[in-house]
Amino acid sequence: MNAEPMTMTGTPIRDTGEVLLSVEAISLRFGGVKAISDVSFDIRKGEIRAIIGPNGAGKTSMLNCINGFYQPQEGRIVFKGERRAKMRPHRAAAGGIARTFQNVALFKGMSTLDNIMTGRTLKMKKGFFWQALRHGPAMQEEIAHRRVVEDIIDFLQIEHIRKLPVGKLPYGLQKRVELGRALAMEPELLLLDEPMAGMNLEEKEDMCRFILDVNQQFGTTIALIEHDMGVVMDLSDRVVVLEYGRKIADGTPDEVKANQAVIDAYLGVAH
């Protein structure tokens, strides 16, 4: 018997394509406070893009601009080749941008399943009348959506909490449910605001795995804000660094790590 030993490798293939979203010279002010000034960067299709920076650097403001929650006073955002003027969050959502929040924003009294189902709301086509009747075509539609949601539940391994109210769940699981809801929108661009804040090591590792799987399996482009540098450097393809609303660096994790401005921003510098 010619017993040939197995040789296999599990290296994924990185393939980042054209620009999906570009932020061009945007500035955002709240009265006299400049949250973001003149920042430009782009997010390519299929990549994991991290936005980092010390506290108050304008990271969350940046995400809020991207999904239309804030309107920058200057500059423009181009998404899928389309320049967006005034844009509302629900339009962003319909256009394929989903997000999770720094502080979990779920419906606490609803079950995991129902929370994730809310992510499908925009895709429900039947009118209020049919929905209320919950019969015939509306039922068909709901079954189809439920299938997608069950896939997500399976994907995130949260079968055991399917029917539990999310308010009762530990924080790490709530974060996972929130990710599930965002995924239910089948977004092209997923914005994650500190997906690992407040998690223990094991939960963090799980979350990293899920983020990588989402990116590889669904090809979802991901922009994330994260404070854990280990996580950022391992996960992301490219990193943009903000400080006091300004961009101070942009590049691969290795480039950013070697950047003097970044080191100064994080470690402080003698003036």
């Binding site: 018997m1 017993a3 290296t11």
Partner: protein
């Protein structure tokens, strides 16, 4: 009783084809996937297994080769056993939660040529050890998630292997060749190798023939009258003989349905949805269910809580007698009926035991209170005593002869003999054919006249029931000559919901001591209710109030030991609470969650020393292994406490009591 069926279907693939013929439309397997129970009837399962066998054949699997099977309970993994057996290959189920190193040993020792695994996690684990597995040629996986970009030269999805095989079988010639492969199998062929979890040393591969396993299945099926209408849930490790007999062999033989849960965490809910009629679980599972219920009841409203406790008392008084068919006063019967309506029924429903005909517990001694609790609420829970080497059954409790402290009468076809040193020896048609590649160990275990040494010490009581005390080599003596049965002490302690694990020391010492693991669920809940603040397991374990609580439990155990003949000398004089949970990944427990006493004594040597040198505090640092194989060190300062002991009250007990 073996002969009836043997003539016609003496291997599992033949049994499968018999089922496909005789009960084609009956549901054989269910698996909850994407929130829905997917099901397959016997005809469909037979189709799948045939396709699977042909697919394996095309990948080059030969008669006599070994196929490692790694994963949780999934229909396709059970089918892979049957498909391998179809070709005369030997399935070797492996514990899914073994770390890579343990798995490498088993796969290498078994010389596995194929590996059939559940998901990416297992694929990665095996890929990381391929350099140590020179015999491994092909790997198959069930769940494709995350594996898309892997090199598929020697890696295949089970689904596509089955589809390829089924395609090839459309040709008459190929189908005939495959059917001849099945016909070539005989009952005496090696059917399966089950690696024992190894309380001591490396795991050993127990070789069982088709006949061994079929006879074992027959013993169980006829003893409890199992038929094709029964339902079981498969959730115990597939590498364990219990699961192999209950979820595979008996299902094939009796033709009943095997339900595979969605994930290990959803077992209780899934069991509830299915309503199993036949259950098998180690005491730990029953214990966890009860602990969770008790904890939840503490949070319930005052009225509900009082009703719950009142009727539990009623059940304690009358429940068991009613189940055993003894006479009970009318008032008791009426109260019990009411309790059944208000408490026991809903409770059984919660546990998923509403339809249960018979439930078995085995693997470890069950706390008598725990055992009685389930029986008192109307669950026909029984004990059996078994071993992998016996093809599981050695003794079982017949209906109506249930005692909490014995394991029952010899099972049908089983002969038992007690050796001079108290060791239990047994012989039956289902005993194993030897350890794989280990004739020395086989010779040590088998006697010349065909009996197997169980390694357990026990005796028959006046009713002819076997009573197991402990592992034969573990029953020791204190320095003063008093009997010291460590497991007996540990089990008494573990009955308290607050105590998850206990390790007793005392062999050759002046007195007995224990190291205790608290149960985080129960103690954590207690802490919450009593405003005890803690940040970690370690901190909670070291808390003075927790020590006080455990001290009360130890005290009660001592009091009960003092009242038993022979055991009074083994009262616990000192104890401590360990700063970390004992974990199989650190080698402190076996994969079936039994404590490895010797290893623990070595690893925590400074603590054991402190238990005996009178010091009140000891420092310890231990290395821990994380699931991915990385290691870390945790250190702690552990307190040691004295416990009260009682004068021995039973007459004839030799040991004098010491005041501590």
């Amino acid at each position: 009783m073996a002969s009836g069926i043997e003539g016609r279907a003496d291997t599992f693939p033949k049994l499968l084809m018999r089922n496909a013929r005789d009960r084609a439309g009956r549901i054989a397997f269910r698996h909850k996937d994407l929130g829905i129970w997917q099901s397959w009837n016997w005809a469909e399962v037979a189709e799948q297994v045939r396709g699977f066998a042909q697919g394996l054949k095309q990948l080059g699997l030969k008669r006599g080769e070994k196929v490692a099977i790694v994963g949780y309970n999934r229909p396709r993994l059970y089918w892979s056993m049957c498909a391998a057996q179809w070709l005369g290959a030997v399935p070797v189920p492996v514990y899914a939660d073994s770390v890579a190193d343990e798995m490498a040993y088993v796969l290498d020792h078994a010389e596995a040529a194929f590996a059939v695994v559940q998901d990416q996690e297992q694929v990665d684990k095996i890929l990381s050890i391929t350099d140590r597995l020179p015999h491994l040629r092909q790997m198959l996986y069930d769940e494709p998630r995350g594996l898309r970009d892997y090199d598929h030269a020697t890696l295949h999805a089970i689904e596509s292997v089955i589809a390829d095989g089924a395609g090839a079988l459309r040709e008459q010639a190929a189908a005939e060749v495959l059917d001849r492969e099945m016909a070539a199998g005989q009952g005496s062929d090696l059917g399966i190798i089950l690696y024992t979890s190894g309380t001591t040393g490396r795991p050993k591969g127990v070789m069982l023939s088709h006949t061994n396993v079929i006879v074992a299945a027959e013993i169980g099926c006829s003893f409890d009258g199992l038929s094709e209408t029964d339902e079981v849930i498969a959730y115990l490790p597939i590498a364990w003989v219990g699961d192999h007999v209950f979820s595979y062999a008996q299902a094939m033989l009796a033709g009943f349905c095997v339900n595979c849960p969605e994930s290990p965490e959803t077992v209780i809910d899934d069991r509830r949805e299915v309503g199993t009629t036949y259950a098998f679980a180690p005491p730990r599972v029953f214990e966890t269910m009860l602990t969770l219920t008790m904890v939840r009841m503490e949070d319930a409203g005052a009225l509900k809580r009082r009703m719950f406790h009142y009727f539990l008392d009623v059940a304690k008084r009358y429940g068991e007698q009613i189940l055993n068919g003894e006479s009970v006063p009318l008032k008791g019967r009426l109260l019990y009926k009411l309790g059944d309506l208000l408490v026991y029924g809903p409770l059984r429903n919660r546990f998923g035991l509403t339809n249960i005909k018979v439930g078995y517990t085995a693997g470890e001694a069950i706390g008598p209170e725990l055992f009685r609790f389930y029986r008192s609420i109307g669950v026909n829970l029984k004990q059996l005593y078994g071993q992998t080497e016996a093809g599981v059954y050695i003794t079982m409790q017949p209906n109506g002869e249930i005692k909490a402290d014995t394991v029952g009468r010899p099972a049908p076809l089983v002969e038992i003999r007690i050796d001079d040193n108290g060791e239990v020896l047994y012989r039956s048609p289902s005993i194993f054919g030897g350890y794989y590649k280990d004739p020395e160990k086989t010779a040590e275990t088998m006697t010349a006249d065909g009996f197997v040494r169980s390694g357990d010490a026990g005796f028959f009581d006046e009713g002819g029931h076997l009573k197991i005390i402990d592992r034969a080599k573990d029953v020791g003596k204190l320095a003063g000559g008093e009997l010291f049965p460590p497991k007996y002490l540990e089990n008494k302690l573990k009955f308290y919901p607050n105590i998850k694990e206990a390790v007793a020391f005392g062999q050759g010492r002046d007195y007995a001591t224990v190291a205790i693991n608290i149960d985080l669920t129960a103690v954590g809940n207690w802490a919450e209710r009593n405003n005890v603040v803690y940040a970690s397991y370690q901190e909670l374990a070291g808390h003075d109030l927790v020590y006080d609580m455990i001290a009360r439990h130890v005290d009660e155990v001592n009091r009960s030991l003092a009242a038993e003949p022979m055991m009074g000398g083994a009262q616990i004089q000192r104890f401590l609470i360990l700063h970390k949970e004992l974990d199989a990944d650190d080698g402190e427990l076996t994969r079936t969650q039994k404590v490895r006493r010797g290893f623990i004594a070595e690893r925590y040597a400074p603590l054991v020393a402190a238990l005996y040198d009178g010091s009140r505090i000891a420092d310890i640092s231990t290395e821990v292994t994380f699931e991915d194989g990385r290691k870390g060190v945790i250190s702690a300062r552990v307190k040691v406490r004295d416990a009260r002991t009682y004068p021995v009250t039973t007459e004839g007990a030799p040991a004098p009591a010491r005041a501590a």
